[in-house]
Subunit: 209 residues, 2 copies
């Protein structure tokens, strides 16, 4: 699929500066949506491992001190990966037209930030980027990460996408850290419906074939 399948006819394509780190799935989510919809952005690297988002310069622009963050150049600045994705995707097929389907998409995105990312992304960050040995990692991160993957497996056993019958922001938000869950010690072979869905989302995002 190409960007043309998703391009937003109802609004202008946007131009902005996107601050992020490509090791961060939260940042990649926003980049993928921008690429898919043909928004134009200038990427500026902010190193999350050394805590560059907590520097006085960055905090003066973005008080939340986190990436991704976008500057639209006219005073509009926005942070939080899922809020950014949804803003860029307004008017496109990545946001369902039906109001209940939109609510389901938001349900999964809020669940992702509360129950998925704080376990799966954090465990990966500690193992893969900080090089923490597995026996020093809080076992609660493992249990919570497995529970999140179980939840996704149950849902995806019955349907191909998180909401409705095609790619939405819910899939993009959830795939960001799920596709690299092995870097946090989670073997997706144990969650086959999740593994198959990761392949579908990657294909829709143009990562394969």
């Amino acid at each position: 699929m190409s960007a043309d399948c998703y391009g937003a006819p109802e609004r202008q394509r946007m131009m902005f500066t996107l601050y992020g780190d490509k090791v961060s799935g939260n940042c990649l989510k926003v980049m993928w949506v921008a690429d898919l919809l043909g928004h134009a952005y200038h990427w500026i690297d902010v190193d999350v491992v050394t805590g560059e988002a907590k520097s006085p310069d960055f905090l003066a622009k973005f008080p939340m001190g986190q990436v991704p963050a976008a500057d639209f150049g006219d005073g509009r600045r926005l942070a939080q990966s899922n809020a950014l994705m949804l803003y860029l995707a307004e008017g496109s097929a990545l946001i369902p037209a039906d109001d209940f389907a939109r609510a389901q998409m938001l349900q999964w995105l809020f669940w992702e930030q509360y129950s998925h990312e704080p376990a799966i992304a954090v465990r990966r960050f500690q193992m893969f980027y900080l090089g923490k040995p597995e026996n020093e990692i809080d076992p609660a991160l493992t249990t919570r990460g497995q529970a999140a993957l179980d939840q996704m497996q149950r849902h995806l056993a019955g349907q191909g996408w998180f909401v409705g019958d095609g790619l939405t922001c819910a899939d993009i938000g959830l795939v960001a850290y799920t596709r690299v869950a092995h870097e946090g010690g989670f073997d997706l072979a144990q969650w086959p419906a999740v593994q198959a869905w990761v392949g579908r989302v990657e294909q829709a995002l143009g990562m394969k074939g």
Copy 2:
């Protein structure tokens, strides 16, 4: 202000069953929005202290195993406090009409679930409901909670509401645990702009006067 200020002309008032626990700010958020907008709901208590949301019966209906959760009676079921609030509020003044203002509202709601609730609500739950002595509480909860209140103080020092010039779902989402932060050991007198804003939101929700 009354519900009529916020009532949603573009859609029917809804009827649903709302599962929740009144000790949970996440559940109260949804109840406040429903009350303000005149939606009709039947409330069913689910005890979060004893973990009733993890019972097989509840999980069969709501696999995420969390409250609040709503059953609209026609197969539509939805969980996650902020997704529920936003669904109930569609078409009302609680959601800004401008797309960037909507994105800012979502930014604060995602921030609330990631950076505010897991510190302030969790510390309160441990102190107030589980009776944990303060010296047994993870000091990171204190630091993170203070940082969240600092963030809110900086924002509210310059404006009366989180987004735009009136009450939105961002305020309702954020006030739920902020107004009871003292039960988690945070004295709001240290964050005067936050304290004043809590009063404004409570008044808008009809809690005072």
